[in-house]
């Protein structure tokens, strides 16, 4: 009866009890790395940055806390009513003797199972070699025709168009529309890829969709879709979700881009580069032509000079020049000669004139001739009573010598 009373259990302080409870729980490994599913309620965000809520199911609840550091890494906003899976460690808040869950990661309910499926499929397809880098083809630098598989009404398509308009408006974009979420999505995506290949055969294909949860992106983890991407005859660039989202299509694609915009950038050159390159090429053209022209001009000048010297025209001109020179000299010579002749002639004329007998006669001399006309130059030829003829400048007469001729010096 009083056996219980005999065993006097130790009397503990409350704080000892709560500390004991904490240590007990923290030593239980399972409780230190655990996933708990439940619904969020009483959610608050403290000024400190810590998040507090209660995780509950139909019959129970446990207080939860997300410390500020983990809270910053959460990729979702929490709110009451959300069905989640929380990962963390169980502890005891000693001051109040309360169990609490210290949460370091959270995901939406059901994502856990999905993620497992994701991993399973990834392993399967990887083992088939569908993700091998050797299968990946290079993306053309400049794609003239860009195929796009996405929803025509989604933001992804608009982002792609805006990017291409800005960077490379020379391209042609062909959209093969498909739903990108929900049950019909995988079939539509596969059909859209096939249609694009058969009807258009563009240079590259962008497979895109905007951001979302694992469930939202699930179509891109569909096995048949992944196989279609891997076997596409045209290079495929994926731009699915946000930077940190990886789907199996991303692994199977020839190139993964973090977002639809990035995918569009990957397949397009920047038209500014085009303008720059064109500008540079034009400069080169001008420069080389200037240089060529200078070179040709110089060559021509040099040849021209040589040509002038050896050309027939040159020779003709040369000879003409010489001829002119000779002609001048000739003329000068002739003139000179003429002048000399004239002078000589004048001289002769003068002398001749001086020798003209008429001149002598006009000076008063007479010519004495014998009757037979012989000129009598010496006194010895003249006798007394000889009949002579006398000629003076303007006439003549007969005369008889009537005195004895005497020689000069004999009287």
């Amino acid at each position: 009866m009083n056996s219980i009373d005999d065993l006097t259990p130790p009397v503990l302080q409350v704080s000892q009890l709560t500390r004991f409870l904490r240590e007990l729980i923290e030593s239980e490994q399972i409780l230190q790395d655990i996933w708990i599913a439940g619904e969020i309620s009483n959610y608050t965000r403290a000024a400190s940055g810590h998040l507090y809520f209660t995780l509950k199911d139909q019959s129970s609840s446990i207080k939860s806390v997300v410390w500020k550091g983990s809270a910053m890494r959460l990729r979702m906003n929490l709110r009451d009513g959300m069905a989640v899976e929380a990962h963390g460690a169980v502890s005891v808040y000693e001051a109040r003797g309360e169990c609490q869950l210290v949460v370091d990661a959270l995901r939406l309910a059901g994502e856990g199972a999905l993620f497992q499926e994701f991993l399973r499929r990834k392993a399967l397809l990887e083992s088939e070699g569908l993700f091998d880098s050797s299968r990946k083809r290079p993306i053309p630098d400049v794609a003239g025709r860009i195929g796009v598989v996405t929803s025509p009404t989604g933001a992804a398509f608009q982002d792609i168009l805006n990017t291409l308009k800005r960077r490379y408006p020379l391209a042609e974009v062909i959209l093969s529309p498909a739903t990108v979420q929900g049950e019909q999505a995988p079939k539509e995506i596969i059909a859209a890829l096939r249609l694009l290949d058969q009807k258009i055969h563009p240079d590259v294909v962008i497979l895109a969709r905007g951001g979302g949860s694992l469930e939202d992106l699930w179509a891109f983890n569909d096995e048949e879709v992944v196989r279609a991407v891997a076997s596409s005859p045209i290079p495929i660039v994926t731009g699915i979700g946000h930077e940190t989202d990886f789907t199996l299509c991303d692994f199977a694609a020839d190139l993964r881009a973090p977002t639809p915009t990035a995918a569009a950038e990957q397949v397009s050159p920047d038209i500014a580069d085009f303008r720059d390159r064109l500008g540079m090429l034009l400069e080169s053209l001008s420069l080389v032509v200037d240089q060529s022209l200078s070179f040709f001009e110089d060559s021509i000048s040099a040849c021209s000079d040589r040509l002038v010297r050896v050309s027939p025209r040159g020779q003709i001109e040369n000879n003409a020049r010489r001829l002119d020179e000779l002609a001048s000299r000739w003329q000068i010579a002739i003139r000179h000669a003429n002048e000399m002749q004239f002078a000589y002639l004048a001289n002769l004329e003068g002398r001749l004139a001086a020798l003209d007998p008429q001149t002598v006669l006009r000076r008063g001399f007479a010519v004495i001739r014998a009757e037979d006309g012989t000129t009598l130059r010496s006194i010895n030829k003249i006798k007394l009573d000889q009949q002579i003829r006398v000629e003076i400048s303007d006439g003549g007469f007969g005369a008889k010598v009537n005195t004895l001729p005497t020689k000069h010096g004999e009287e």
Partner: protein
């Protein structure tokens, strides 16, 4: 140097025109062309450059939307 069957400049795509322009400049830079050839090349080069420039200035992104093929199960059978 310039063959008689060279296509007219405005039928070329940007890539084709630019590529030919690069070749023209390269040939001219080699300096082996005669004066006549150089003149011809330069004129062709100018035409190519103008064509490229026009294409860049007037480029408008061409967008086509295909009709979904009948295989998509979402479509209603008539």
């Amino acid at each position: 140097m310039i063959k008689n069957d060279t296509p007219p400049v405005d039928t070329l795509t940007y890539e084709q025109a630019f590529s030919e322009l690069e070749k023209v400049v390269s040939v001219l830079e080699e300096g082996q062309a005669t004066l006549d050839e150089s003149v011809e090349l330069f004129q062709r080069g100018q035409a190519l450059a103008k064509h490229c420039s026009d294409l860049l200035e007037n480029a408008r992104l061409k967008v086509t939307i295909l009709e979904q093929s009948g295989e998509a199960p979402g479509e209603i059978e008539p």
